[in-house]
C-alpha cells in the first residue's frame, strides 16, 4: 500500500504520478468523474507517462501518440496501443489516498468519491 496524497490535493480532472519502489513500475493516479483510478504510468506502446495524458471521462489519452486507455480496465480502446496497462486498487483512509500495486493486470474497481459510494 503506497500513500499518494490527501484527496483534496488531487482535485477532479487531475492526475499524479507515484513512484511505487524499485520492484514496481510507476503508477498514475487519476481523479475523474467522481472517482479515483490507478493504472501503470508508462504507456504500453512506447515510453510516455500516462499521468501527463489527456483525461476525458474514464479514459486517458497518451501524450505521445494519442493511444486511449480505459481507466477502469487498463485496456486500450484504440491504436497504437494494443496491450493493456495494469490497473491498481485505490483506497481512501481518513482522507488519505492509497494505491495497492497489483502483481498482474486485473481490472481494478474505481473508488467512488461521491459521498454515497465513498470507500473508507
Amino acid at each position: 500500500m503506497i500513500p499518494v496524497c490527501r484527496i483534496e490535493d488531487l482535485p477532479e480532472g487531475e492526475s499524479v504520478r507515484v513512484e511505487a519502489g524499485d520492484a514496481t513500475a510507476a503508477i498514475a493516479v487519476f481523479h475523474t468523474g467522481g472517482a479515483f483510478y490507478a493504472i501503470d504510468d508508462t504507456c504500453s506502446h512506447q515510453d510516455a507517462s500516462l499521468s501527463d495524458g489527456w483525461l476525458e471521462g474514464c479514459y486517458v489519452e497518451c501524450p505521445l501518440h494519442a493511444a486511449l486507455f480505459d481507466l477502469r480496465s487498463g485496456r486500450p480502446t484504440c491504436l497504437p496501443a494494443r496491450r493493456p496497462v495494469t490497473t491498481h486498487a485505490v483506497t481512501v483512509v481518513d482522507g488519505m489516498l492509497y494505491v495497492h500495486p497489483s502483481v498482474t493486470a486485473v481490472p481494478g474497481d474505481p473508488v467512488r468519491t461521491a459521498p454515497e459510494e465513498a470507500v473508507a
Binding site: A48, D52, G53, W54, E61, P63, L64, A66, L79, P80
Partner: protein
C-alpha cells in the same frame, strides 16, 4: 470496388499495416496480400534510434516487442504475407505487380506503402559506415557501437542523426555531429527554436559542428576518420550518415503514376487511378486551397493515412480527405521534443511556459497575425498536448 478480388499492400510497414487493417475494418473481405521487401513483419521504427541502441537486452534477430502485430491479430487480418520480396514494377493496365524473380501478382487494388530509403553521400563504401532506417540497419549499428568503438561521427543533425548521437553519448562514446546547414532543423523549427534544440547536443555531451560539409572519408577497408570541407579531420571508428530520406518510387517508373518526390495523390491518398492509393512516407498529397502538396515523413501521418486511404480505395474515389495536424516527436539527450502544426517562415515564437535558456524545458507557440500556427514543447508533454488539441480545432491558417 467490390469486395471480391485482390488488394495488394506494397510495403509491410506501419502505414501499410494500418491500410490493411483499415480495409478489413471497413468490410473488405476479399483477398489481401502484403508484400514486404524486408524479411520482418511490420514493426515500429521510432525506437530503433533510441532505446534499441542503448538497451542492454540482446534484441535478437526479429522485431520482438517492436512488432506491430501479434499472431492473433495476424490471423484476424487474414492476409497473405510475401516477405523478403520486392515489388519491381507496377503495370496498371494489366493490373499486375512484378515481384523479385519475375513472378507476377494479379491485383485489383494497390496500396503503395514502400516508404523511403536513406539518402547517401558520394562517399566510398567502407566498413564502419552506417545508415539507419530498418531493423537490420539497427541490429548492425547496435553491434558496431558495442564492438569497441570509441569515437562516432554522425553526419547530419536531423532527427535520426540527433537521436543516434544521443544514444551514442548515452553509451559513453565520444560523439561529434556534423551538419552542413548553419543550424539543424532550421526548416522544421525556424532559427530561434532550432538554436535552442541545437544546444541539447552540448548539454548531452556531444559536439555539434554546423555549417560544414563532408569532403571524404579516411581509411582503407574500414573507416578511420571523416574529412570535413573546411579541412578538419575527425577520427572515427563508426560513422552514421543521417542526411534524410528519399521516397521509394523507382519500381513505379513506367507505371503512368505521377512521381514528384513521392507518389502524387489527391487529398485523400488516391492517385490518378481510383484503384491505386499511397500512404506514409512515399505519398505526396494535395492540399486543396494552398497551391502546394505535402509529403510527410511523420509516424503519425503514416498511421492515420492507412484508414483514410482504405476508405477511399473501397469507395472508388476520395470521400474522406486526410487532414490531420502534422505532429512529430523526438527524444534527445534525455529531453522529449514535441512539435505539432504548420509553421511557416516568418511566424513569430512566443514562450508560454519555462525558459528555453535554462535547460528545464519549455512550451512555445508559433503565431501569425496573433493566431497560433504550431506548437513546440520540450519536456512539457501535458501542456503541449493541450495546445496540440487547440491547434487541431482552430481554423487552419490561410494557405497552409
Amino acid at each position: 470496388m467490390t469486395t471480391v478480388g485482390t488488394v495488394t499492400v506494397v510495403g509491410a510497414s506501419l502505414a501499410g499495416l494500418h491500410a490493411a487493417w483499415g480495409l478489413r475494418s471497413q468490410g473488405y473481405d476479399g483477398r489481401l496480400v502484403v508484400v514486404g521487401e524486408e524479411r520482418h513483419r511490420p514493426y515500429d521504427r521510432p525506437p530503433l534510434s533510441k532505446e534499441f541502441l542503448t538497451g542492454d537486452a540482446d534484441p535478437g534477430e526479429g522485431p520482438g516487442h517492436l512488432a506491430l502485430t501479434d499472431p492473433e491479430e495476424e490471423a484476424e487480418l487474414d492476409a497473405e504475407w510475401l516477405l523478403g520480396v520486392r515489388a519491381e514494377a507496377l503495370d496498371t493496365a494489366a493490373g499486375e505487380i512484378r515481384l523479385t524473380g519475375g513472378r507476377t501478382l494479379r491485383t485489383d487494388g494497390v496500396v503503395i506503402a514502400t516508404g523511403a530509403t536513406p539518402r547517401t553521400l558520394p562517399l566510398p563504401r567502407m566498413a564502419g559506415v552506417h545508415t539507419l532506417r530498418t531493423l537490420d540497419d539497427a541490429i548492425r549499428l547496435r553491434a558496431a557501437l558495442r564492438a569497441g568503438a570509441a569515437r562516432v561521427v554522425v553526419i547530419g543533425a536531423g532527427f535520426i542523426g540527433a537521436e543516434v548521437a544521443s544514444s551514442c553519448a548515452a553509451l559513453g562514446l565520444d560523439v561529434t555531429v556534423v551538419e552542413a546547414a548553419p543550424l539543424p532543423l532550421l526548416p522544421q523549427l525556424g532559427e530561434e527554436m532550432a538554436r535552442v534544440c541545437a544546444a541539447l547536443h552540448a548539454r548531452g555531451g556531444a559536439t555539434l559542428l554546423c555549417g560544414t560539409g563532408v569532403a571524404g572519408l579516411r581509411g582503407g577497408g574500414r573507416v578511420t576518420g571523416v574529412e570535413l570541407a573546411d579541412g578538419r579531420l575527425l577520427p572515427a571508428d563508426v560513422v552514421v550518415v543521417g542526411v534524410g530520406v528519399r521516397p521509394v518510387t523507382g519500381w513505379l517508373e513506367g507505371s503512368g503514376l505521377l512521381l514528384e518526390d513521392g507518389v502524387r495523390c489527391d487529398e485523400g491518398c488516391v492517385t490518378a487511378l481510383p484503384n491505386v492509393v499511397a500512404v506514409g512516407d512515399v505519398a505526396r498529397l494535395a492540399r486543396p486551397g494552398t497551391g502546394h502538396t505535402v509529403r510527410a515523413e511523420h509516424w503519425t501521418s503514416g498511421m492515420l493515412q492507412g484508414a483514410v486511404a482504405a476508405r477511399n480505395l473501397l469507395a472508388g474515389s476520395t470521400v474522406e480527405p486526410f487532414d490531420a495536424l502534422p505532429y512529430f516527436w523526438s527524444d534527445q539527450y534525455g529531453s522529449r521534443i514535441q512539435y505539432a502544426g504548420r509553421r511557416a517562415p516568418g511566424d513569430t515564437v512566443r514562450i508560454l511556459e519555462g525558459d528555453p535558456a535554462d535547460g528545464g524545458g519549455f512550451l512555445a507557440v508559433y503565431e501569425r497575425d496573433a493566431a497560433p500556427t504550431a506548437a513546440l514543447g520540450v519536456d512539457r508533454p501535458r501542456p503541449f498536448m493541450r495546445l496540440r488539441r487547440e491547434l487541431a480545432r482552430a481554423p487552419r491558417p490561410a494557405g497552409r
